[in-house]
Symmetry: C2
């Protein structure tokens, strides 16, 4: 085993990908309609996003955050219409 | 305005819907492959779920939790293959 391997830790990362507030959410609207039909009239708004859970092996939390931010911009989200939040445990 | 209306508060609720750990996640596998192709070899696992944000007007947090739990079982998740977590702000 290399020394580099010994310095590695495993991080659990949660990425929340949500539509930007100005973007319409037809899927959310449909779910809201279905909830109202079922009698849940107290629900006023529904928005649906993605929850992406990653298991990442790296040196430090800071490194993980930088890399996951890159992944979000390149692949995990569409920066034109979506925002993302990264949570590391 | 009725007194009942005055007792109402607005709650922001987040529901995380994830596949149960025993259930295969082909979408997650595909994303993992794509991340590896882009050079993010530190990612070991990827699982993809839904993030549902609700705005609910009701009397108390406890009431909201009970009702949202019902909504999850009836509509928002598939209890056979998915778990859900409710977070109220």
């Amino acid at each position: 085993m290399l020394i580099a391997d010994l310095m590695m830790r495993v991080f659990r990362v949660k990425v929340e990908v949500k539509l930007k507030p100005v973007v319409l959410d037809p899927q959310g609207k449909t779910v809201l309609g279905a909830l109202h039909n079922l009698g849940y009239l107290e629900v006023q708004e529904t928005r649906i996003g993605k929850l992406i859970e990653l298991t990442v092996k790296d040196e430090s939390e800071q490194k993980v955050r930088e890399r996951v931010e890159e992944m979000c911009k390149k692949l995990l989200s569409n920066p034109v219409i979506e925002d993302f939040v990264i949570k590391i445990e």
